[in-house]
């Protein structure tokens, strides 16, 4: 994928039938606007469909606004028994191909997860283990899909709530390894980074720094909500990626931080539910926030970051995030602990820790103080996986512990 050859689309909104009329009314207004420059659709909702869904789809198509597909069921992390890649559902692929041609899709995307096992679709984005084998399978799957559709593919970093099996590498290493091997693009979901950083206790900006940002083609922004308890077991998570709330300030801050470092071709506001809360006006207010950040960071980006983004796409980068990530990929460690910066910016850590607490809507700071970093992200889920090594706390971990205690004392 050559990012420099992809068209720039700007700011967009996820099309959902609940806001169909509002979107049409908004886009039919002849006054030039930069809030909804394109729409993202879930293509599985429109394949092999007639009747009202098709009529509604054609109505959107007739608006002439670019449509970009974002799939949910390609299941790029699924493995087959005897093949190096998944045996794809060709009924699905044929339907999608027809639709991609019809909307002249510039690229297509899906989540870095598994939704289909064998012949069954489980209607959920099941997490994938961060293993070398998974890197291999996913890369093969992506190569096959790009070849089939003859379009660039982007995968989205998902929100995940647990490690099903013990990770062999860090998430950033995992993502970068796939980007390198499959030569595809990244759909960076900034809200997912934030949600994961709270649920798995890492520093979101550090996570962003570690990614190969040259490959970020699209960005997703969304809201989340506090906590979710499994109805099937005694298990709960701190925050849930719902796409049903307004974006939190901390996520906007992370977006702003990211936009200083990369220039995506498209930015999207995702909203799947709670449309009635503040009406469509509420959504346009959200879009205005993104537009403001995009405009202000664009100038900054153009002045300062040109060497670290698409201008370096096809070169052998030896500095910045790219080099760091290559090094990480070569030195994959099995501890599963998240990013560890070499220099500690204490003020930033305090701000981020505070932000995590505020944003997650926790009742108090007790959760922070109770964290056992030795156990962090390390479920011993398979018999094959060796037991996690007991390791000393790093400087960063000690610092976060100290900061957490300070919050408690306050």
């Amino acid at each position: 994928m050559d990012k420099s050859k992809l068209k720039y689309f700007g700011l967009g909104l996820g099309y959902r039938r609940e806001i169909r009329k509002d979107i049409i009314e908004f886009l039919e207004n002849p006054i030039p606007q930069t809030l909804i420059q394109w729409l993202e659709i879930v293509p599985e909702n429109y394949i092999y469909k007639g009747g009202l869904p098709r009529k509604n789809f054609e109505e959107i198509l007739d608006l002439g606004v670019p449509l970009i597909p974002h799939s949910v069921n390609l299941s790029i992390a699924s493995a087959s028994r005897n093949k190096k890649r998944l045996e794809f559902d060709f009924h699905l692929l044929r339907g999608l191909k027809e639709l991609f041609d019809e909307i002249k899709a510039p690229w297509f995307s899906d989540h870095l997860s598994c939704s289909r096992i064998g012949d069954h679709y489980f209607q959920e984005l099941i997490p994938v283990p961060f293993t070398k084998e998974a890197v291999e399978v996913i890369s093969n799957n992506i190569k096959f899909l790009e070849d089939y559709f003859q379009l660039p593919f982007l995968f989205e970093n998902p929100s995940y709530y647990s490690h099903i099996v013990k990770p062999e590498m860090r998430e950033t290493t995992f993502i970068n390894s796939i980007l390198k091997k499959a030569k595809c693009g990244l759909l960076l979901d900034v809200n997912n980074v934030f949600v994961n950083s709270v649920n798995h206790r890492y520093l979101p900006k550090q996570f962003i720094d570690e990614l190969d940002l040259r490959r970020v083609v699209q960005i997703h922004m969304a809201g989340h909500r506090k906590g979710y308890k499994s109805k099937l077991a005694n298990h709960e998570i701190k925050i849930l990626d719902t796409h049903g709330e307004n974006m939190r300030d901390q996520v906007l801050d992370l977006f702003s931080y990211t936009m200083k470092k990369t220039r995506p071709k498209a930015v999207l506001l995702e909203r799947d539910s709670n449309f009635d809360n503040e009406g469509f006006e509420g959504l346009t207010d959200e879009l205005k926030k993104l537009r403001f950040i995009m405009d202000s960071k664009l100038e900054f980006f153009q002045e300062n970051q040109e060497n670290t983004d698409e201008s370096a796409e096809n070169s052998e980068a030896t500095s910045s995030a790219g080099a760091i990530n290559e090094a990480n990929a070569d030195n994959t460690r099995a501890e599963g602990v998240q990013a560890q910066p070499t220099e500690i910016d204490k003020e930033a850590l305090i701000a981020q820790a505070q932000a995590s607490i505020d944003n997650a809507g926790m009742d108090d700071a007790g959760d922070i103080a109770d964290v056992n970093f030795d156990a962090m992200n390390l479920p011993s889920s398979t018999a094959e996986a060796p037991a996690p090594e007991k390791k000393e706390k790093s400087n960063l971990e000690n610092d976060i512990d100290t900061l957490s205690q300070e919050f408690m004392d306050l």
């Binding site: 909702n45 469909k49 959920e124 099996v165 298990h235 018999a383």
Partner: protein, 262 residues
């Protein structure tokens, strides 16, 4: 690729409520996975309530466990989300369901009701073929000699119970009375999507069922009428009045937007 494949097979077993190999997927991992399964069932629950509002009225108290069991035993094999509801009537008809909930005295027509409710949604998945003239007064079907047939957006069902009456009763705001009130009475329904994309049905008599059956595969009007007269023994005396009735029926079908010409 074997290890990832094996792990995913165990995840599948977990999602389908089957026995899981703890050596591959530890109890701790299963607990972690419960979040995903729970989220998936929540989402399915809300979808199924929208697709089967009348079944929900009947199953209300046991709805949640029923949806979980349905999710586990009938996972979807389609990437199109709504198709997940396709097998609900089969699940309700299965002896395991009937045995498990035998004390609830659920009506015997429950699975037929589910079938009807599913068809209402499924008909939206069908493309509409080219319609014949919207203006029925212009449609001189008999003289055109064109092949006519039903659009794809229809289904013909033969129910053992009076589903049309049951649907009407349950859809009303009236309180649901004794559900066993509805006795066995065979009913044939043509369920279709009309020209305004509303789902409607026709109750089919023997005669109209015969017509529909012929129209499904395509026929011209002259042949259709001849076959009809022969099948039902229409004599010369009755031909004029019968033909008038048949014309009215076809014009009604045309008005509803369910006939197409080739």
């Amino acid at each position: 690729m074997a290890k990832l494949y094996r792990i995913q097979q165990e995840i599948k077993n977990y999602f389908m409520g089957k026995k899981v190999n703890p050596k591959i997927l530890s109890p701790e991992s299963q607990k972690e996975l419960s979040i995903y399964k729970s989220l998936a069932i929540d989402s399915l629950n809300s979808t199924m309530r929208k697709i089967f509002p009348l079944c929900y009225k009947i199953l209300q108290d046991n709805w949640n466990p029923i949806i979980q069991e349905y999710y586990e035993t009938y996972p979807s094999n389609s990437a199109i989300y709504n198709q997940v509801a396709k097998s609900f009537s089969i699940y309700l008809k299965d002896w395991k369901f009937r045995w498990k909930y035998r004390n609830e005295n659920y009506p015997k027509w429950l699975f037929e009701l589910a079938e009807y409710e599913w068809v209402e949604v499924d008909l939206f998945n069908y493309y509409r073929d080219r319609k014949i003239s919207d203006d029925s007064s212009d449609s001189n079907l008999k003289s055109s000699g064109e092949l006519i047939r039903l659009t794809k957006a229809h289904k013909v069902y033969r129910f053992d119970y009076p589903i049309s009456k049951i649907v009407e009763h349950l859809s009303s705001e009236r309180q649901i009375y004794n559900l066993t009130y509805f006795k066995k009475a065979k009913e044939r329904l043509l369920i279709f999507r009309d020209r305004y994309d509303k789902i409607r049905y026709f109750l089919l008599s023997d005669g109209s069922y015969y017509l529909i059956d012929k129209l499904r595969s395509g026929t011209n009007v002259q042949d259709l009428y001849k076959k009809f007269y022969k099948k039902f023994g229409i004599t010369e005396v009755d031909i004029d009045s019968t033909e008038a009735k048949l014309n009215d029926l076809l014009i009604n079908f045309t008005k509803e937007g369910i006939l197409t010409s080739s």
